[in-house]
């Protein structure tokens, strides 16, 4: 998995609440058996018209935001379906960090498994970042996972919370299946006990 340490980049503003995973990647793109190549279809139904032409008003179609690496959005980002195609599409587009007042639980977890940092900040701070993002390509936001800070283009710094284990895995790019397999003796022991206490399982 890709490591995440610091990132300074263009932030795309999406001031909508409840952006669900159906919007992030509509189901017609779930028929892939690969993880890659979904970036062109990120936000497909908002991004393209029925004939597949770009809708100029959509934020990621504006020249200033084509290279956005950060997304700033409203409350409850990533709600709905558990599809990991959502973070795959975000990552494939080139976005490495999503900032919002809150995230749906499964999406939030899925991000960490894919080298994406989701940052939850209070609404007032997200409002500041949203304004900053609206300035376009000249306003670059800096995210530092080590110090757990976000810095606006004006130099205003905000700190965020992140689970220490998730932070560690993301910073080191660790494969958590490998980490869990190192604990195989604990799992073996659990299974041996469960075979006695709950044999019907």
């Amino acid at each position: 998995m890709d490591k995440f340490n610091t990132l300074t980049g263009i932030a795309a503003p999406m001031p909508m609440i409840n952006i669900d995973t159906d919007m992030i990647i509509p189901k017609q793109f779930l028929k892939t058996i690969k993880r890659s190549g979904l970036g062109v279809n990120l936000f497909d139904e908002m991004r393209y018209d029925d004939d597949g032409r770009e809708i100029p008003d959509f934020v990621l179609n504006k020249d200033a935001y084509r290279d956005a690496e950060i997304l700033v959005a409203g409350d409850n980002f990533g709600c709905g379906s558990s599809r990991e195609h959502a973070p795959w599409a975000i990552k494939d587009f080139g976005i490495r960090c999503v900032i919002a007042p809150s995230f749906a639980d499964i999406f939030y977890n899925n991000c960490f498994k894919n080298g994406i940092l989701p940052i939850a900040l209070p609404q007032e701070q997200v409002d500041v970042l949203m304004k900053d993002a609206e300035k376009g390509a000249n306003a670059r936001i800096t995210v530092d996972l080590e110090t757990q800070t976000v810095t606006t283009s004006d130099g205003e710094t905000m700190t965020f919370e992140v689970d220490p284990f998730k932070k560690h895995c993301l910073m080191e790019g660790l494969d958590d299946i490998g980490l869990t397999m190192e604990k195989a003796p604990a799992i073996d022991a659990f299974e041996a006990t469960a075979a006695q206490t709950r044999p019907w399982v």
Binding site: D22, K27, L30, E45, D75, S82, N109, T180, F190, W200
Partner: protein, 468 residues
């Protein structure tokens, strides 16, 4: 011993390892798998040379993108990309030696219907699936999480999930429901009250007289939509109804093992003095038959209400409501009961069980759907379908002008050919009314099976209590 909630009890019984910071490896008793969220996970196993740790606890069934029309055993009757995903699941199930119900098997159906039906889902278990509606299995007092594909791979390889404990939330629905009000109205009303993020970070336990009074089917409907309220899982403590439902199912324990299981299952309830991080109480008699008007499951109103205006809301919801109203093509102030529909979809893991079909058929019996309207019933499994045929429900649907389909997810998410055209409006018994969910530009109103059947008769959103 300190008092515990049901969630605490199941959690404690499944912690295989706990790190100093509280990160746990939670042992998984049942892993359900479907064709859409699993191919990359199996590919990951192949690339790293890993095996499925507990194939006997892993169950796969194709459901999301299979056609629900006759002849689907033949892959040439599927779109090419669907056929590839189904073929991949066929192969993965075989190569890794997991239980499998192919489309040709009468037991095939929506994964969350097949699990309980076959007795894979039992009280006190941990159940996961790469699908957010895994919450359904909570109706048995099983801790059931939806997970992403990376986690699917993690569970396949290790039979555990890396988890931190959620908070406890109690949703109590007191008293009796009024006539015409169903489990779907309860679960939608709870989301209407809490919002789609109200449950984020919590595991919900539903309790109270109105919940206890529900059948197992109704309880599954309630828990199914816990995720729509943002919760990781929903739970209902097992009781005699639960045990009766499980008894004799193909994979339920038998004999002495059944007795041993029962002994434990009977301890699975929240202690009286257990502590809750959040409590919500609804009165059963206050719940009306509801429908959704917008594009979020929290956009719930009684069928007797009018379409709201964006100004009725606050904060970020003003813009969201504006966008929803535009997308849904609705004018504020219009009575919901005047909104005309083009399509009726009865099915999904929320409402595709036998009781749901009975409820819809009771409304349709001897009547015909409104002319010009498209109406479809998609039973949740091949066995539900067979039972409905035996009970004569299929005939009622067919005579009423409904299409009688084979089992699958179908128009719940429209990954198969069953889709809405842009602007088409659907009365649906499924669980999500998101933009484009049932087809690009399609407009979805969520409701109970009885309400959907009523809508089929009149061609508009309809108060089932007013049908004579």
């Amino acid at each position: 011993m300190s008092p515990k909630t049901l969630y605490d009890k199941i959690w404690d019984a499944h912690v295989a390892h706990e790190a100093e910071d509280g990160t746990c490896l939670l042992y998984i008793d049942r892993h359900l798998v479907h064709e859409v969220t699993s191919p990359q996970a199996f590919e990951g196993l192949r690339m790293t040379g890993r095996k499925v740790r507990a194939p006997e606890k892993t169950i796969a069934v194709p459901d999301h993108n299979v056609p629900t029309t006759a002849g689907r055993e033949d892959p040439s009757n599927m779109t090419e990309d669907s056929a590839i995903q189904v073929a991949a699941l066929d192969k993965n199930a075989k190569d890794f030696g997991i239980h499998y119900y192919p489309v040709s098997d009468i037991r095939q159906g929506i994964v969350h219907i097949v699990g309980p039906e076959q007795g894979w889902t039992l009280p006190g278990m941990t159940v996961v699936c790469g699908d957010s509606h895994t919450a359904t299995h909570g109706a048995f007092g099983a801790l059931a999480h939806g997970i992403g594909t990376s986690e699917v791979e993690h569970v396949l390889a290790t039979q555990t999930l890396i988890q931190k404990k959620s908070k406890n939330m109690k949703v109590e629905v007191t008293g009796k429901l009024r006539p015409g009000v169903t489990a779907k109205d309860i679960t939608l009303s709870v989301i209407g009250a809490t919002g789609t993020a109200g449950g984020t970070g919590y595991v919900i336990e539903y309790c109270g007289e109105a919940i206890r009074d529900l059948s197992m089917e109704g309880r599954m409907t309630v828990c199914n939509m816990a995720i729509e309220g943002g919760a990781r899982a929903g739970l209902i403590a097992p009781d005699e109804k639960t045990f009766e439902y499980c008894m004799g199912r193909p994979h339920a324990p038998k004999g002495a093992q059944w007795e041993a299981a029962m002994e434990w299952w009977k301890t699975l309830y929240s202690d009286d003095d257990a502590e809750w991080d959040k409590v919500i109480t609804l009165k059963g008699e206050d719940i009306a038959p509801v429908v959704t008007w917008g594009t979020s499951p929290e956009d719930v109103l009684p069928i007797t209400a009018n379409v709201p205006a964006a100004e009725d809301f606050e904060g970020g919801k003003v813009g969201a409501a504006q966008r929803s109203l535009e997308y849904m093509g609705l004018t504020p102030g219009t009575p919901l009961a005047e909104v005309e529909i083009d399509t009726v979809f009865i099915g999904s893991c929320t409402n595709g069980r036998i009781e749901d079909l009975r409820a819809a058929a009771a409304i349709l019996k001897g009547k015909k759907k409104k002319e010009g309207l498209r109406a479809m019933v998609v039973p949740g499994s091949g066995l539900v379908r067979a039972q409905a045929e035996e009970e004569g429900l299929a005939d009622i649907f067919i005579e009423a002008g409904f299409e009688w389909r084979l089992a699958g997810c179908s128009m719940c998410l429209a990954m198969n050919p069953d889709q809405l055209a842009p602007g088409e409006r659907c009365a649906a018994t499924s669980n999500r009314n998101f933009e484009g969910r049932q087809g690009r530009g399609g407009r979805t109103h969520l409701m109970s099976p009885a309400m959907a059947a009523a809508a089929a008769l009149t061609g508009r959103l309809t108060d089932v209590r007013k049908l004579s």
